[in-house]
């Protein structure tokens, strides 16, 4: 039924798509000399700084040659050169989509990995799906929540842009699985090129409809190619998946500031369908991907804590590239109910209005609005206006960040980490973050005390959840403090290399303070954990005000 989604015809249409991208980018280049110079400059700089293999050596020589000869070229020659470069980039970006692999992998992927199969064996097996075990066993480990029925209907009336939070390289695979589980058509997405070279993940990347984004390439021509590619896909009705956080959250926190570039292509794509007289509406679906434990937590938090500026933009050697770690992560997932929760939020149009299941837009007072009215000018004509669209997208980004907070699903590890971390802070009250983090294996909390803290925090979170400001799942809602702590201990144990919390006769020892920091950060933007991870220029989140008298109202400093 959903095989009629355009992605299933992608391979046939690919050439056509790349051609549109190339012609659009080349035509819009006003000054080929400037574009080529910019590209040559950035590429030369990048390749000179990189560890050069023979391949890069050759590339570097070509760029240097181009830079030297640009001045002598005539305009026609420059345009030709530009066209050939853009075409090369276009094909490099264009992905693949193998419907067979899609069907097999989205249903069977996790058991395959848990069976410790090397990627090569996987390729062989994928050709013969019957030899794989069915994966319904995963159904209660991975929970998919949100207005799924509505989204299913909606996917028939418009083009979806899924915009989930981003924690792990597992996200795209897990999200693809969630779409399948929800009965939603697959989505294409731009995955970092390093994932294509990741020995464990590359197979899926190549065949699940991902296109390649090489984040090392910084020049504008390449960015134009990427944006145009994304725009053309949306125009043609390909449902898309963007991680608007840009990179995986290093701190473990929920994104509070987004990269808007790719998201901005949605309005242009929509306006183009209007201009072509075949309106196809675009809608955004904010979503959160919530892990009991994160595959790359150790690497990511270490990177976050690395001295300012020394953090790495692209990490290629983290846990997701080590089959052993991926395998033990998968085992953990199989072992725990609800280890991953994907939660879809309410769909909105690119202008921040809510949409119903027929893709009709409604403003905040519930009045129906015609989305095309936002892209029309004085004379009622549809126009392409990047400055206008950038502003709409900026406001959309704010809406999506608000949705992230509302749709964050609190899991046991977050609560226990936040409660333990609060104990750590109390142990060194005047301490800055690094002083607090240095207290490894120093603080031991009696089990009952920790359980009590956990319950107190849980009760507040439930209150917040009842106001619609966060989500607290069933187990966490009703379990005893002791059970919550137990479950968090079980989740940590056996995956993270060293113990996070250690069970001792006199209580729970706070061992890996970095990881506890990482997991508590999930609640920081809500003001429910210590917030030292607010993005630059943004005030730290303040604890919400609770109705109960126990709340710290005294600190509000009201007027006498």
């Amino acid at each position: 039924m959903k095989d009629d989604a355009p992605i299933f015809g992608f391979n046939a249409a690919r050439e056509d798509i790349v051609r549109s991208v190339v012609s659009r980018v080349v035509l819009s280049a006003k000054d080929p000399l400037l574009a080529l110079n910019d590209a040559a400059y950035h590429e030369t700089k990048r390749l000179e700084a990189s560890k050069r293999g023979p391949e890069e050596q050759k590339e570097l020589a070509e760029w240097q040659k181009l830079a030297r000869s640009l001045g002598r070229m005539g305009d026609g020659e420059r345009r030709e050169k530009l066209a050939s470069l853009v075409e090369h980039m276009g094909w490099d970006v264009a992905g693949n989509f193998d419907p067979r692999v899609f069907k097999v992998s989205s249903k069977l992927l996790p058991p395959v990995v848990t069976s410790l199969l090397a990627p090569r064996t996987l390729v062989r097996l994928a050709r013969d799906p019957k030899r794989l075990v069915s994966l319904s066993a995963l159904d209660d480990k991975v929970r998919v929540e949100g207005p799924v029925e509505e989204l299913r209907e909606l996917s028939r009336h418009g083009t979806a842009v899924y915009v989930p939070t981003h924690l792990s390289n597992m996200d795209s695979i897990v999200f693809g699985y969630a779409l399948e589980r929800a009965g939603l058509p697959p989505a294409t997405y731009g995955a970092g090129k390093n994932l294509f070279t990741n020995p464990v993940l590359s197979f899926f990347m190549h065949n699940l409809g991902a296109y390649r984004v090489d984040r090392r390439i910084r020049h504008n021509l390449y960015k134009d190619v990427l944006k145009t590619y994304s725009c053309v896909l949306l125009e043609r009705g390909y449902h898309s998946l963007f991680f608007p956080g840009g990179t995986r959250s290093r701190s473990g926190g929920v994104e509070r500031r987004l990269k808007l570039g790719l998201m901005g292509t949605a309005i242009e794509a929509y306006a183009r369908t209007l201009i072509a007289n075949r309106e196809r509406r675009v809608y955004f679906v904010p979503a959160t991907i919530n892990y009991l434990i994160t595959l790359e937590a150790e690497t990511l938090i270490a990177d976050f804590l690395a001295e300012a500026g020394k953090g790495r933009f692209i990490i290629e050697d983290d846990e997701s590239s080590r089959l052993g770690r991926v395998t033990s992560f998968m085992r953990k997932m199989f072992d725990m109910q609800g280890a991953v929760v994907i939660r879809f939020g309410k769909p909105i149009d690119p202008f921040g209005n809510v949409v119903d299941e027929r893709c009709r837009s409604f403003d905040r007072r519930g009045r129906e609005v015609d989305p095309s009215s936002y892209v029309k000018d004085d004379g009622g004509r549809v126009t392409l206006d990047p400055v206008r669209d950038a502003q709409y997208t900026r406001e959309l980004g704010d809406e999506i960040c608000k949705a992230y907070l509302r749709e964050t699903v609190v899991l046991e590890t977050h609560v226990v980490a936040a409660a333990s971390f609060e104990r750590l802070r109390r142990a060194s009250p005047a301490g800055d973050l690094f002083t607090v983090l240095r207290q490894r294996d120093v603080v031991v909390v009696p089990r009952d005390d920790l359980a009590r803290d956990v319950v107190k925090l849980r009760d507040r979170l439930v209150e917040l959840a009842d106001r619609g400001e966060i989500v607290v799942g069933g187990f966490l809602r009703t379990a005893s403090g002791g059970d919550i702590v137990e479950r968090a201990l079980r989740a940590f144990a056996g995956y993270h290399a060293s113990p996070v919390l250690a069970s001792r006769p006199d209580g729970i020892a706070i061992a890996d303070t970095n990881l506890l920091f990482y997991y508590q950060n999930r609640l920081a933007a809500h003001g429910m954990a210590w917030d030292v991870i607010a993005p630059p220029g943004m005030a730290p989140a303040r604890p919400p005000v609770f109705a109960k008298p126990a709340s710290p109202e005294a600190t509000q400093g009201g007027l006498s």
């Binding site: 202008f351 921040g352 007072r365 206008r388 220029g537 509000q556």
Partner: protein, 312 residues
């Protein structure tokens, strides 16, 4: 029979400010429709006055000029007739006291319009009515809003400046409202030109820091929409905030001082709220703290000393 042209500017608010804006737009040759709750004949026969929001919504550019206390209900009613094509600009001074929401936040909540802007700057209603030269600021992130407002209002007697810091302009206007009370107070309490200039400069600096903490650009406070607007208070004896400040300096109790100001002074509840915001964000706010104490009945000379004390 002459058919009325489709209006190019709709103005909502039949008070002095709304009428002044309508007059200024008429001066540029714009076809203006004015929404007024009182269906009174206007001295200007060319001005189309209506009680029907649908009539105003026929214009693509809609300017809101109502007191902030009724802004939400007006916007909600008007919102039934607006769509994504409208450019909605407001000239309402003030911030919501609960969440420090701006009026453009209200527009976003109550209407489907998204291409929004705000008016600010030192221009006075009287100047607009009489056509005396003055300057106005339009803040919007949408270039087409800046263009439309400039086209609708700029004339030889009114210069329109644009900024894309919409939020900053809204904050600056609101904070200037608060600081104007201080200007009136200091003048009445006997501050000379040098002291007054020092008080104003330091207060502007403080306001800019508060704005930065609120996510605005500091320089907006230093520009026409902040500093410029505040300087106008020195000469504006009848600005309600100034009247109120002067009355307080004469030890007139707050409720009587409010009555003397005649118009509603939005700054009164806002000042203590700004002090709380400053505490939360750990921004030094000596001036606002002092203003807050003045409103609470502090003693004049001691207050003046306090205003000029503080660090650095």
């Amino acid at each position: 029979m002459t058919e009325r042209e489709a209006p190019s500017v709709g103005v909502v608010g039949g008070g002095p400010w709304g009428r002044a804006l309508a007059t200024a737009a008429r001066r540029t040759g714009a076809e203006v429709v004015l929404h007024s709750r009182r269906d009174q004949a206007d001295s200007d026969p060319g001005l189309h006055v209506t009680v029907d929001y649908a009539e105003v919504a026929k214009a693509r550019l809609v300017v809101i000029a109502v007191p902030s206390s009724v802004a939400r209900s007006v916007l909600r009613a008007l919102g039934d007739h607006l769509g994504g094509q409208h450019l909605v600009v407001h000239g309402v001074r003030g911030l919501g006291v609960d969440e420090l929401t701006t009026v453009s936040d209200l527009v976003r909540e109550e209407t489907p319009a998204r291409r929004l802007g705000a008016l600010g700057g030192p221009v006075q209603a009287g100047e607009l009515i009489e056509g005396r030269p003055s300057a106005m600021v339009i803040g919007s992130r949408f270039p087409e809003v800046l263009t439309a407002v400039t086209r609708a209002f700029q004339s030889p007697s009114l210069k329109v400046y644009g900024t894309n810091d919409l939020r900053g302009l809204e904050w600056a206007s609101a904070l200037v409202g608060c600081l104007s009370i201080g200007v009136g107070y200091a003048e009445e309490a006997g501050a000379g030109p040098g002291l007054l200039a020092a008080l104003i400069s330091r207060a502007v600096d403080e306001a800019a820091r508060l704005m930065a903490a609120a996510g605005c650009e500091e320089r907006t406070m230093f520009g026409l929409g902040g500093y410029g607007d505040l300087l106008a208070s020195i000469a504006l004896e009848d600005r309600p905030e100034v009247v109120l400040g002067k009355a307080l300096a004469r030890k007139v109790p707050l409720d009587q001082a409010i009555a003397m100001a005649k118009l509603r002074v939005e700054a009164i509840p806002l000042i203590p709220r700004i002090v709380r915001f400053a505490d939360e964000r750990r921004v030094e706010a000596n001036t606002f703290r002092t203003l807050s104490e003045i409103l609470a009945g502090g003693r004049p000379q001691a207050m003046l000393d306090r205003m000029f004390a503080g660090s650095s």
